[in-house]
Symmetry: C2
Subunit: 260 residues, 2 copies
């Protein structure tokens, strides 16, 4: 974007951007002129890109009046890139049971430079379904998984991460300052798990706990999400213990296997 395009392949960058536009676009697809306007490339060039990506299965054409949709190759590679993560298989064996047990939606996030990237999810039966953007980097300050990860960084590292990401104020409970966040983080360190009390979404309550890879570094965190109710509030300590127990089990499994 702002970077010098030297020794990069402009055509590929445009294609990937186009792919993202298509995927983020409306569910019934976009047509050629819409796409070409959006990406600011001539129609003929846009068409060439689309054709190339269609050949490779990354883009699907929906007749009539050709509309372009994300193709199945994208889904295939995306799924594959998740399942090859060693953590995924482990998580899939522990997560559904926890979701069942405490009746909350469980999510798994990787630690990407101090920020959580959610890669997996398990719903509790009958629970409200929470929309999760898999693969997207979340703000660490407004999610319990993010805070659980932060708690394992040094104070300087935390400051550096927050300096980059900023502190979004999603609700009136969101942390507005670094010092406020740090007070919370210190509680997390003492408590062993993180709490997100309506800091991301009004009425939503989360508990998060970190797990650690074979080198002892924080590999990520799991979090439990649910509607904030009085009954649930009362049992926070119990739920917290369950989440920590599950995270610890994942840590143990991770230690059992080499990086390969």
């Amino acid at each position: 974007m702002a970077a010098p395009t030297s020794d990069r392949v402009a055509g590929v960058a445009r294609a990937l951007k186009l792919l993202e536009i298509i995927t983020l676009g409306p569910a019934d697809g976009m047509n050629l002129t819409e796409l070409s306007k959006k990406i600011e490339i001539s129609k003929s060039s846009t068409l060439a890109l689309l054709r190339t990506m269609t050949d490779a299965g990354f883009v699907r054409i929906k007749e009539p009046g050709p509309r372009y949709l994300p193709g199945m190759t994208l889904l295939r590679l995306g799924d594959l890139s998740r399942t090859t993560q060693p953590i995924d298989e482990i998580a899939q064996t522990y997560i559904p049971a926890l979701a069942q047990e405490i009746g909350m939606t469980i999510r798994v996030a990787l630690n990407e430079g101090g920020r959580p990237v959610f890669i997996s999810r398990a719903d509790a039966p009958g629970s409200v379904r929470f929309h999760t953007m898999l693969g997207a980097k979340e703000f660490p300050s407004v999610s319990s998984a993010g805070k659980a990860i932060l708690a394992n960084l040094s104070d300087e590292e935390i400051a550096a991460v927050i300096d980059e990401t900023g502190l979004p104020t999603r609700t009136k409970h969101s942390h507005g300052s670094l010092s406020s966040l740090m007070r919370d983080i210190n509680q997390v360190r003492a408590r062993g798990y993180a709490i997100d009390d309506e800091e991301d979404v009004e009425g939503i309550f989360c508990i998060g706990a970190a797990f650690f890879d074979h080198a002892g570094r924080c590999g990520g965190a799991i979090s439990a999400t649910g509607i904030k109710t009085a009954a649930r509030q009362k049992r926070t300590a119990f739920f917290g213990a369950q989440v920590v127990k599950c995270a610890d089990a994942i840590t143990k499994e991770l230690h059992g296997r080499r990086a390969r």
Copy 2:
């Protein structure tokens, strides 16, 4: 590949191929020389492609001795391309319950020109986890979902599809001829659901039933997969009815909403 590269963008095609190689490659990634050899492109050009894709987040670099891995953008877009399918949300509300009820792994496939493409999965608690390649086109002749889809095509269309895909003999129970398959298909039509009795994998037993979109066309199928046991065999009719019931529920939901 074999097609004339006219009005296609060669650079993009190479990049996408590279992306696929990386994703299909080993879990700990590949280095530059390996990749450049595999794709048969000079190292410098390969590097330029990798850098471009890294900028866009499609490729991730793992230090040390830079190894290249699929990036998080791939996961994000892949997940997004699935969740924007109208079928996905519906399936996610019905599928886990069915998995729970009959104790088998449930999968959802779309109908892509007569071939099943699996886009979603729900495991039964405690069941063996079956490895599923999401987004990949399966052979229609060796899966119950595939046969459930085929059963809704005309005999000529079936012949055309099989002519393209061929009849792979995965096990000794796989259909070896079109006539053998057609006999099976006719049973499916009469019965209302398809059975895969060790035709894909030795010892694995599946039941599949189709669902239909708002235009009345076969939109895909769901299938239940499990280890073949005597107890399960005996209750085939009951399980079949449950799978059909679930597929019908999905059909009803699909009718309720416009293409939008």
